[in-house]
C-alpha cells in the first residue's frame, strides 16, 4: 500500500497578470506519506494549496487524486467531497459558533439530511444529530479539545484554534490533508505538541498529509519527503535529509 500514489501533480502552472506564480510544478505523494513543502515567502506554496483545492484554476497542468480522480477544473466543494481537505495560513474558523459546532459542520457531508427533516425534526434528524454529536466529540478528544467543546471558537487560544482547524478538516473524512503553516505563531512546546498531533493524525486516520512549514525543526522531525519551492519553481525534491543538504536549498534559505 505504501507505494500507491495518492496525489499526483503534473506540469502545474498558473499565471497572474503575466507573473508566473507557479511554473511546471510536479509532485507525487504516496499514500500515508507526510510530505513537506517549503520555500521562502512568496515562493508560491499557498498558491499550490489554492490550486489543489480549486480556489484558483490552473493555467495548465493536471492534478490526480488516488490515480483516478481528476481535480483540476473542479470547484472547492467538489474537491472536498472527492477527498482533499485543508487548513489556512491565517486561521479561518466559524468564529461565532462553538468549537463543537465547527467540527459538526464539517461532518455535514457524511450525515446528510434534508432541510425539511431538520425543520420537522424527523427521525433522520434525531438519529444523525446524535451520531454527529458523538463523532465530533470523539474527534475533539483526539485533539484534547473536548473541555472547550461548548466554547465560542474565537475565544480559544491561538494554538488550540490551529488544532481545531485540523480537526475540522479531518471531519470531512479526506484522503489527503493539506496543512498550511500549522506551527505559525506557536512556541516551542506548542510546536512539539503539534508534531505529535500530526503524527497521530497520520497514523490514526491513515492520512496522506502535505504540509507547508517554515519551522525547520518540525519539517526535519516529521516530514518523510520534501519539495523546496523558490519563485514558483521547484528547487529540490526528495527525501528530507538529502534535500536539506542540497547546496541550492541552503543558498536559497541562508543566502550566499
Amino acid at each position: 500500500m505504501k507505494d500507491n500514489i495518492m496525489l499526483s501533480v503534473k506540469n502545474l502552472s498558473i499565471t497572474f497578470g503575466g507573473l508566473h506564480a507557479v511554473e511546471n510544478f510536479n509532485l507525487d505523494i504516496r499514500e500515508n506519506e507526510l510530505y513537506g513543502l517549503i520555500g521562502p515567502n512568496g515562493a508560491g506554496k499557498t498558491t499550490i494549496f489554492n490550486l489543489l483545492t480549486g480556489v484558483y484554476k490552473p493555467t495548465t497542468g493536471s492534478i490526480t487524486l488516488n490515480g483516478v480522480n481528476k481535480i483540476e477544473g473542479k470547484n472547492t466543494i467538489e474537491i472536498n467531497k472527492m477527498g482533499i481537505a485543508r487548513t489556512f495560513q491565517n486561521i479561518r474558523l466559524f468564529n461565532q459558533l462553538t468549537v463543537h459546532d465547527n467540527v459538526k459542520i464539517a461532518l455535514q457531508n457524511k450525515y446528510r439530511y434534508s432541510t425539511i427533516s431538520g425543520i420537522l425534526r424527523l427521525t433522520r434528524y434525531r438519529r444523525y444529530e446524535a451520531l454527529m454529536d458523538e463523532e465530533a466529540l470523539a474527534l475533539l478528544k483526539v485533539f484534547n479539545l473536548e473541555n472547550e467543546a461548548t466554547m465560542k471558537s474565537s475565544n480559544l487560544p491561538y494554538g488550540k484554534q490551529r488544532k481545531l482547524e485540523i480537526a475540522r478538516a479531518i471531519a470531512t473524512n479526506p484522503k489527503v490533508l493539506l496543512l498550511d503553516e500549522p506551527a505559525a505563531g506557536m512556541n516551542e512546546n506548542e510546536t512539539k505538541e503539534l508534531m505529535n498531533t500530526i503524527k497521530l493524525v497520520k497514523d490514526k486516520f491513515n492520512m496522506t498529509i502535505l504540509l507547508i512549514e517554515h519551522d525547520m525543526k518540525l519539517v526535519k522531525g516529521i516530514c518523510e519527503e520534501l519539495t523546496v519551492l523558490n519563485f514558483g519553481k521547484v528547487l529540490a525534491q526528495g527525501p528530507t535529509d538529502e534535500v536539506l543538504k542540497n547546496k541550492e536549498v541552503i543558498k536559497a534559505y541562508l543566502g550566499e
Binding site: N50, V55, Y56
Partner: protein, 293 residues
C-alpha cells in the same frame, strides 16, 4: 428628431448619474464600503443651494459653490462620526450604518424643510439651443450638465494620475495595510475621498434640480440608487466605468420612458442591473479581483 431629443436629454440625465456614481465608485474602491447616504448628501446640497438662490437671492454660481462646500463638510463629518469607528468591522454593520445615515439625512431634511415639494429655480439662465430649424431643441441645462460632467471626468482623472494624493488613493484602494506600511495616511486618504465624492454630490444635486425642478427630502434617494447601479454596470471602482455606466443608464431610462412606459422605466433600469450581474458581475470596465486566501 424626437429620438435625438430624447437621446440628448438622456445623455444629460446620464451625466448627472455619472457625477453621482463617481462618489460611489471612489468610496467603494478606496473605503471598500457602499455609502448608501451618498444620494442624500446630494439632496442636502440641493436644499442648501435652494435656500441660497430662491430665498436669499444669491448668485447661482456662488450658491453652487457654497452648496458644494457644505456637502464636502457634511461628507467629512459623516465619515468621521459614523463610518470611521466601523473601519475593520464586517461589511454588514457598515452597510446598516450607512442606511442609518441615509435615513437620518432624509428625516432631518423632512423636519427642517417639510414634506412639501419645493419648486427649484434653475441655475442656468441661458436660452435653449434650437437646431435643424427648431426640430431639435436642447435645453441649456442639458448642455451645461454634459459639459460639466466631461470637465469633472478629465479633472478627476488628472488628479488621480498626476497628484500625490491621487496616487495615495490608488494605493489605498489596492492594499490598505501595505499603504499604511508605505507611510500613506490611510485615514486622511479616505476622508479626502469622501470630501471629493460629497463635493461632486453637491454639483449633481444642483444640476439634477435644475433639470428636474422638484425638491423633496427623498429627491436624492432614487438618483442615488440609480447612480450606484450605474457604478456597478460600469465596473465598481473604475472612474471611466462610472462615466460610461451613468450615460448608459440615463439614455436607457429616458428612451424607455419615451417609448415603453413611464411607470415601468425604473423597472427596466433595474432589470439591466440584474442582467449585468448575471453576465459580467465585475461590470464593463471592472477588474475581476482575486480573493486572497
Amino acid at each position: 428628431m424626437d429620438f435625438l431629443t430624447y437621446l440628448v436629454s438622456g445623455l444629460s440625465l446620464g451625466s448627472i448619474y455619472a457625477i453621482i456614481a463617481l462618489g460611489y465608485t471612489m468610496v467603494y474602491g478606496i473605503a471598500k464600503m457602499l455609502n448608501f447616504a451618498h444620494g442624500d448628501v446630494l439632496m442636502i446640497g440641493a436644499y442648501i443651494s435652494f435656500v441660497f438662490i430662491n430665498q436669499l437671492g444669491l448668485d447661482p454660481i456662488l450658491s453652487l459653490l457654497l452648496a458644494c462646500i457644505s456637502c464636502t463638510i457634511i461628507g467629512i463629518v459623516i465619515e468621521r462620526i459614523a463610518y470611521k469607528p466601523l473601519r475593520g468591522a464586517n461589511s454588514l454593520s457598515v452597510l446598516i450604518t450607512a442606511i442609518g445615515v441615509s435615513y437620518f439625512l432624509q428625516n432631518i431634511a423632512l423636519l427642517i424643510f417639510g414634506a412639501n415639494t419645493k419648486s427649484y429655480k434653475s441655475i442656468v439662465s441661458l436660452p435653449p439651443l434650437h437646431l435643424f430649424d427648431g426640430n431639435l431643441n436642447i435645453s441649456s441645462e442639458s448642455i451645461v450638465t454634459i459639459l460639466l460632467c466631461i470637465i469633472i471626468m478629465i479633472a478627476l482623472t488628472t488628479f488621480i494620475n498626476k497628484t500625490k494624493m491621487g496616487q495615495a488613493m490608488l494605493a489605498v484602494s489596492e492594499d490598505r495595510s501595505a499603504s499604511t506600511l508605505m507611510g500613506i495616511n490611510v485615514n486622511g486618504t479616505i476622508a479626502m475621498t469622501f470630501a471629493i465624492g460629497s463635493f461632486l454630490a453637491g454639483i449633481a444635486g444642483v444640476l439634477l434640480c435644475s433639470a428636474y425642478p422638484t425638491l423633496t427630502p427623498t429627491t436624492g434617494a432614487m438618483p442615488g440608487i440609480k447612480a450606484f447601479v450605474a457604478a456597478v454596470i460600469g465596473g465598481i471602482g473604475s472612474i471611466p466605468g462610472a462615466f460610461i455606466g451613468g450615460l448608459i443608464l440615463g439614455v436607457l431610462e429616458n428612451l424607455s420612458k419615451a417609448y415603453i412606459s413611464a411607470q415601468l422605466s425604473d423597472a427596466i433600469v433595474f432589470s439591466l442591473l440584474i442582467i449585468m450581474l448575471l453576465v459580467k458581475p465585475s461590470g464593463i470596465l471592472g477588474k475581476t479581483s482575486i480573493e486572497k486566501v
